[in-house]
């Protein structure tokens, strides 16, 4: 028996180093940064990329991961706002679950401004948002509301659309 346990411990050693299990927040943040590669804004600043995060001040992960970093030849800037009236020029608006009660108002406020809305709020894409992140069996999934994206003048790469769930229209 002792030999069996020893083999088990050795297995631990042989098999390291390892792939990572990451936190949901970290995976969400990573998807948020990567998605810009697959989406074209109507007009875009060639040097800077701005992400605004609403009403999620306790989560500094986005800031730590991206602020002032050069990704795909663009300098990322992360802004935090407390309510939608404070929104300024931005490429992405990340709407955390804390905003679910005010979602309709937030989406109304950014309508027609070519801002990519991203959220993990349940039913976000069906409620008129553009990109929804959710987790299924510990794996991240994306749901994109294509009609809403087109209405906001986004061009989404077909390679992205192939690997995400696509829905159409405001399904409220």
């Amino acid at each position: 028996m002792q030999r069996l346990i020893f083999i088990f411990f050795i297995s631990f050693l042989i098999l390291l180093p390892l792939n990572a299990y990451e936190t949901e927040d970290k995976i969400k943040a990573l998807l948020l940064g990567k998605i810009s590669k697959y989406i074209k804004w109507k007009t875009s600043d060639t040097d800077n990329f701005k992400i605004t995060i609403i009403n999620n001040s306790q989560d500094k992960l986005f800031y730590e991961m991206y602020n002032d970093k050069n990704i795909n030849d663009k300098i990322f800037t992360i802004n935090y706002i407390d309510n939608i009236s404070q929104i300024k020029d931005t490429d992405i608006l990340y709407i955390s679950a804390d905003n679910s009660h005010d979602l309709e108002n937030i989406l109304q406020e950014i309508k027609g401004k070519n801002i990519l809305s991203v959220s993990d709020i349940r039913g976000f894409a069906e409620k008129g948002g553009i990109v929804q992140i959710y987790f299924l069996s510990q794996k991240p999934k994306l749901k994109i509301n294509l009609d809403e994206a087109k209405r906001e003048s986004f061009k989404i790469s077909s390679s992205l659309l192939r690997i995400v769930e696509v829905i159409h229209g405001d399904m409220k």
Binding site: A20, Y21, Q138, K141
Partner: protein, 773 residues
């Protein structure tokens, strides 16, 4: 040996530091979508789900993928093979206990485990174990009423949590999370049999899902199974030609199960939810064989003797309805009602009532038991920057009934095998309770997290109780979490314990008169004169201290020490006779020779340690290996006797069952390897030694290793065939060492102890086909 223990530990530290480099930002998009995220758990805190490795208290998780690759079809078997401190023996020839599987955590009582479905309290079975089985004196949740295919994951909290969830959360909490959004329709058929050729099992599952708007869903799981009996009885030497006369093994069971889980989010931020479970089990087991000379009337009806068959029909269902939402000030609210009902009806076939002689029927309706529980909760939750606060109120109503059987089942000597409940046993008792609770966490910084919880609860029968919990975790370094908790808890006496009675009569060989004995309700004059008092709640104190070391994000080690002291544990008294003239007079007036009743008889102390190592690895060829090593040690001691009638000497069988009847040590080595379309699962289980007392002598049984193997092959994307076996090397426990006898003994009818943690039916081999559509 090239590597000693010290060098192994050093290597692990070095290797883990090499793994610390974060190449996260360079990942490809598709790789990110293929990443596995952390496993989150709800149980253990009312303040939202969190990574189970960062929990202030020890929590384990079994996922539906593990369930699928286990080849197991019942929840009690699944937990027995995945959780070392979980024990669920297979009892036989023990009346109702054959039909509802008792289980325990850490060798404590089955009613000291709280079971939740989707975070809501599950009702217990109406059955009260009164024979000499593991769990004697307890009513507990019947785990096998929940279809395995309906389960997304099982969370097991290894800590007292009565300050959060109320009564029963003493040795732990099992939270069953039902499958939610995103699963596929599936059908599975499982068939197998024992190596000995009996115990055929045919099990079919159907899982149907329909998506609703906003990731809502309606999930329906249906399961049907038939488990034929196994028989490992020894020869009955009372016969002229010794033969196998009694069924000793698994009962013959037919069961239908259904589970419904619904979430219907609305556009206005409101989520409507509901779940329901249903189970009907028809279970047949036997009593001991009655040879033709068992009674002077036996051969009037059965010239060759007879084997009474106890048939239990068990109906169990529950419904939950709830509504939840979030206010504009970020307060989350949840209002719900959960009702659960369990009804256990006894029928005895192939039997007779000796008192009725030739007029005796051979089949009897012996009456039944039922239990209903209805809980209504309102929960509120709010998060701030570092502070989370949740609170709630709960109202609960419970009802317990005993219904008498047919007159022929209880009159005179009653039906052989199991005498029916008589009208004096009938009871319709209820109580209510309300509770108010609060649970808060405060994150001082990235390293230190503190949780405090308190719960006040008032029961209509025994009064009020207030309990508190303090837990904290500290990350000494990023990879190392230290955690500890201290709490008080309680377990309310069950309505069954306060109200159960079952008396039966036999012919006193000295006087030739009918004499009554059995279990008496606490307020019965017989129980009162023998010293019965109103039951108090069991009170507990819990301490845990442990550590989680994450060598990498896919490798961790957990070590947790636990301490649980239970005061006033409820148990059955010894069988008592009248001692004083008053007692003798009262017992005589009822024709009672011996009586027993429930009492807060003892104080117990349970201590132990859990060690768990888990590692997962994805190889370059995308094959995947998961290894888990889990060792558990617990020691149960009776540290105080509260009644003069109970002592180690006078109650040896009961006390030894508590202290030594269940394995102190157990170990699991779980291996799962997946390559291309094939998945190999090999689980090695070590069940520690245990003891059983017969006729005031303790008999020991050896520890055993048992292996389970499952190999599944994905024929098409949606079609999987699996073959496997449990206890594949056909291990059986050792027989009674030195005990010879007709009923119990190496040469008797029951050759093995009913306490055996892995049963005694031997190897089981199966094939399973599952199809997604």
């Amino acid at each position: 040996m090239i590597l000693n223990k010290k060098s192994i530990v050093s290597l692990i530290f070095i290797w883990s530091s090499l793994d610390a480099t974060d190449e996260f930002l360079d990942s490809d998009f598709e790789d990110i979508l293929d990443m596995k995220s952390e496993i989150k758990v709800d149980v253990g805190s009312r303040n939202g789900n969190r990574n189970f490795l960062d929990s202030n208290v020890p929590v384990d998780v079994i996922t539906y993928q593990q369930i699928d690759s286990s080849g197991l079809t019942s929840l009690s078997n699944l937990l027995r093979y995945f959780v070392p401190s979980f024990n669920a023996p297979e009892t036989s020839v023990a009346d109702g206990s054959d039909h509802v599987r008792a289980f325990s955590l850490r060798g404590m009582s089955p009613d000291q485990v709280l079971v939740l479905i989707n975070g809501k309290r599950v009702h217990t079975s109406a059955l009260l174990h009164v024979n000499g089985v593991i769990g004697r004196g307890s009513s507990h949740v019947d785990l096998d009423t929940i279809a395995l295919k309906s389960i997304e994951k099982i969370e097991i909290l290894r800590d007292g949590a009565a300050a959060q969830y109320g009564s029963d959360a003493i040795s732990g909490v099992i939270n069953i999370i039902l499958k939610g959004f995103g699963h596929k329709n599936s059908i599975a058929i499982h068939g197998g049999k024992r190596k000995a050729g009996d115990g055929e099992l045919l099990h079919t599952d159907l899982f149907l899902t329909k998506q609703l708007k906003y990731e809502g869903f309606v999930n329906l799981t249906l399961a049907v199974n038939e488990q034929k009996k196994t028989n490992r009885a020894g020869l009955d030497t009372r016969l002229d030609i010794p033969a196998q006369t009694t069924y000793v093994g698994l009962p013959h069971q037919k069961q239908i199960l259904a589970v419904l889980n619904i979430e219907a989010p609305q556009s206005n931020n409101i989520n409507l939810y509901a779940d329901a479970t249903f189970s009907h089990r028809d279970s047949k087991a036997s009593a001991f064989f009655r040879p033709s000379n068992h009674n002077e009337n036996t051969n009037l009806v059965y010239p060759n003797g007879f084997l009474p068959l106890i048939n239990a029909k068990i109906l169990d269902y529950s419904t939950t309805l709830g509504i939840q939402g979030r206010l504009s000030n970020s307060i989350e609210w949840d209002f719900s009602n959960k009702m659960g009902y369990n009804c256990f009806k006894y029928y005895v076939d192939n039997s007779m009532n000796y008192s009725l002689g030739l007029e005796s029927p051979t089949s009897f309706n012996n009456g039944g038991l039922s239990f209903m529980q209805n809980s209504t909760n309102l929960d509120l939750k709010r998060s701030w920057d570092k502070f989370n606060l949740s609170s709630g109120i709960e109202y609960r109503y419970e009802n317990y009934k005993i219904s008498a059987g047919d007159l022929e089942s209880y009159t005179g000597t009653g039906s052989q095998g199991f005498a029916g409940y008589n009208p004096q046993n009938e009871v319709d008792s209820n109580r209510n309770s309300y509770a108010i609770y609060i649970d808060s966490t405060y994150k001082f910084n990235d390293s230190l997290n503190v949780e405090g919880a308190g719960r006040y609860e008032k029961y209509s029968d025994f009064g009020s109780t207030t309990n508190a919990k303090l837990a904290l975790s500290y990350k000494a370094i990023e990879e190392l979490l230290l955690r500890s908790s201290a709490s008080t808890g309680f377990r309310a006496p069950s309505l069954a314990q306060s109200n159960y009675s079952q008396t039966s009569s036999f012919v006193d060989t000295d006087t030739g008169l009918l004499s009554t004995h059995g279990t008496f309700k606490l307020d019965h004059e017989v129980a009162q004169t023998l010293g019965a008092k109103e039951l108090k709640p069991e009170k507990s104190i819990h301490l845990t201290a442990g550590t989680v070391y994450q060598l990498s994000k896919k490798t961790f080690a957990m070590v947790d020490y636990f301490y649980t002291k239970v005061n006033d544990r409820i148990m059955l008294s010894n069988e008592l006779s009248g001692v004083t003239p008053t007692q003798e007079a009262i017992l005589e007036s009822y024709g009672v020779s011996k009586a027993r009743f429930f009492t807060n008889g003892i104080d117990t102390l349970t201590q132990g340690i859990d060690i768990k190592l888990k590692h997962e690895h994805i190889f370059e060829d995308e094959s995947n290996l998961a290894l888990t090593f889990w060792y558990s040690y617990n020691k149960n001691e009776v540290i105080n006797y509260n009644e003069s009638t109970i002592s180690k000497e006078s109650s040896l069988a009961q006390i030894d069952r508590i202290e030594n009847g269940q394995p102190k040590e157990s170990m699991k080595i779980l291996t799962n390897y997946q390559k291309n379309n094939t998945t190999y699962t090999l689980n090695l289980n070590r069940f520690g030694s245990y003891r059983q007392v017969i006729a005031e002598e303790a008999y020991s049984f050896d520890a055993e290793w048992v292996a389970d193997l499952d190999i599944s092959y994905k024929i098409k994307e949606n079609l999987i065939i699996a073959i496997g076996g449990h206890n594949i090397f056909n291990m059986t426990p050792n027989k009674w060492d030195g005990l010879s006898g007709i009923y119990y003994g190496y040469d008797g009818i029951k050759q093995y102890s009913r306490y055996s943690p892995f049963g005694y039916s031997g190897a089981y081999y199966y094939i399973t086909a599952s199809y997604d559509f």
